[in-house]
Amino acid sequence: MVKTRRIITTLLRLLALGATLSATVVMVTSHDSADVLNLKFSAKYTNSPTFKFYVIAEAIATGYSLIVLFLSSKSLVWRLIVILDVVIAMLLTSSISAALAIAQIGKKGNSHAGWLPICGQVPKFCDHVTGALIAGFVAAIVYLVLNLYSLHAVLSPLFPVKP
């Protein structure tokens, strides 16, 4: 019972590690430039503080997943890990929702504020950012599932045995 629990949590953490790592890397390597009329449009992830926050948050989550994968044998810090998982899940959901909000404006614009969409001018940048956002979304969902599983696995001795 303990072994299956350990295997499933390790698998989930590996999945989350892969997702956060790919989100960070894809966002960092996204850049594109275009020449429209006389203006030079160059788009990098550093142009927007939201995407910088996204990269930092995913990098923190990657480092945390890596550290926890390597110390999952001791049971003394396991309670702290459960609580830190909740904090990291909160961080991941906040970074993905902020980046989604800004990316939605970049794709559709906001006519009320007079903001034009930029995806027409820099399509490669938009595709890269979309990929990074999908990876980040998967990472957030995996961390939520991991939290639910941890809470369920902690509680299973509480459930009474059915006769």
Binding site: N47, A98, A101, I102, A140, L155
Partner: protein, 195 residues
Amino acid sequence: MAPQSGTEKPMFGYGSISCKAKSRWSWTMVGLRLLAFLATAAAAVVMLLNKQTKTFVIATVGTTPVNLTLTAKFQHTPAFVFFVVANGLASIHNLLMVMVDLFGSKVDYKGLRFAMIAILDMLNVALVSGGANAAAFMAELGKNGNSHARWDKICDRFGRFCDRGGGALIASFVALALMLIISVISIVKVLKSNK
């Protein structure tokens, strides 16, 4: 688990904590939840009623000025709509938890009560944090604009809209901190009652 005939040891568990300990510890939780409910409700309501109309003079034809009336509403931005929805749902959750804490100490289903409270608290922390952060970065975009994407800032023209949105954001971040503390306490309760 019937108590033994001699002494009755107090165990951790909602029904069997002695009256003195229950009043100190769980009144703190009820107070925190009440504060979180007020903060999320305030954030949702302030953002819901956030609207500013302003008339601009954009040209002068002869001697008559040509006016243009623009309105800034929260519905124009999907991030603010999500902010209102998330804070509304979280305030409903907090209210429900306060009711359960005050009036529902007899309600239990196979020991699932701690589990459901901890899980729901965690889900609502994620929800509120998503809404608050999306709205915060959207507000930062409205305040500073983005020169690389040629997006102008709007806070210099709609100052009151921005101020009210900022107030709602502050309330939501306070609620987020409170709900994180509440969620950690709920999880610690679950872990303790398991040992």
